[in-house]
Point group: C2
């Protein structure tokens, strides 16, 4: 793990870093309280499709988790996203999927196949990121939370299923074809965000994914609105959920 | 409104009262912070079937709303419940419904008919209770919240639909046959609690009732478990919801 920048603003310290991965360098960001010393729970966040580790939907929530809960929060770029090079294989698949969707094919299974392919790279990358972050003095090897919706859910489900250090996960905006089999291996508490009028994930598939988690504690939060219209007040509920399970 | 007792314990003042209603006296309870002076938002709570105004499921939550949010909280006995006399008409109907259910008839429509009948009495009684409570110095005529699940949802839906003073409602453990038409007249923010394995309310009917609310802001909170197994952590979410809308 190599740090490339270290800045602070509004009580939040932001450190950019690079990790060596099997598919090349993995750029990441770590946010901690400005005065952080000693161990604290870590929340890893997965960004959405076409976004990156510092996209507003990630950064705004990360700042809240840091300032509101004293957590450490980290995110890394998914292959083909952010500061990572264009990935020809993923590009070809995305283009082919778009053509199949334009020709009338059902979108959800195409998304599912794409995310399954990407997750074969991100699961080991994210586990390696945990290893490196846990070795830092101001993070430490404490309990881990995961936050990810949409692509962050499609990649998050296999990550949470594979990673016993994750003790609580906020997931959402994903559907069963992508993840139901893998979701059935998850036993950590889950808070699942579903948009009632999601134009990308059919309602029944979102409900089926929630149904699939093996977690004894799991809560579905459903709100009216489209895929990109998660209500701001859910962030407060996310924070309370992480505080309850990671503290 | 006639007060019959006034006690305090652990920072919560409890006043028992009686209101005159069209179907006889309506016994009620008002909880406020021990040192309450001046107006504050009021939360009216509806109890469950076979329960009463001070049943643990009501009292525990009421105390939290008072001590955690500084709210005034009130509940009154439903006809045939608590300190109210046995109601022959309701008893006959309940007995007849039980016989029909035992004979294999679907339970949900029977519950729906029963709750619709009872609500013709409770809606005016609860509106009269608001009038009387709003005239008290330590309550005042501020915004009103409603909390009720199961029978408290079946009776709460027509109450919230009829009462413009209600600015936020926690409802749940109810289904569409009982309330969908009336729910479509509700525009206040709703937090709706659904038990994923409810043995009394089929899942699809609970989801259909959530779907029916006309509220621009409504959130479904679904958790694993049976009808009587609402998780304790939802109370925290109820309190945050009321704080957001009534303060």
């Amino acid at each position: 793990m190599r740090f490339t920048s270290d800045t602070s603003s509004n009580g939040v310290r932001e450190q950019l870093f690079v990790l060596d991965g099997a598919s090349g360098e993995v750029p990441g960001v770590l946010w901690t309280p400005g005065d952080a010393a000693g161990p604290r729970p870590l929340i890893l966040m997965g960004h959405g499709g076409g976004q990156h580790k510092k996209a507003p939907g990630v950064a705004v929530r990360a700042h809240r988790f840091v300032t509101g809960g004293g957590f450490a929060v980290a995110a890394v770029d998914v292959p083909g996203h952010g500061d990572r090079p264009t990935d020809e294989e993923l590009n070809r698949l995305a283009t082919a999927n778009q053509a199949r969707a334009d020709a009338g094919e059902e979108l959800a299974p195409l998304i599912a196949g794409f995310q399954a392919l990407v997750s074969r790279r991100t699961v080991p990358e994210w586990r390696a990121a945990l290893d490196a972050l846990h070795a830092l003095d101001h993070v430490g090897a404490g309990p881990v939370g995961y936050w990810g919706v949409s692509l962050g859910c499609g990649l998050g489900v296999p990550f949470v299923a594979a990673e016993p250090r994750v003790r609580a996960a906020v997931l959402g905006l994903g559907g069963a074809p992508a993840s139901a089999d893998v979701a059935a291996r998850i036993t950590a508490p889950v808070q699942f965000l579903l948009q009632w009028d999601d134009e990308r994930v059919p309602r029944a598939q979102g409900l089926a994914l929630f149904d699939a988690f093996a977690s004894a504690e799991k809560t579905l939060h459903a709100n009216p609105g489209k895929h990109g219209e998660l209500p701001a007040f859910e962030l407060d509920g996310n924070l309370r959920f992480f505080e309850r399970h990671l503290r």
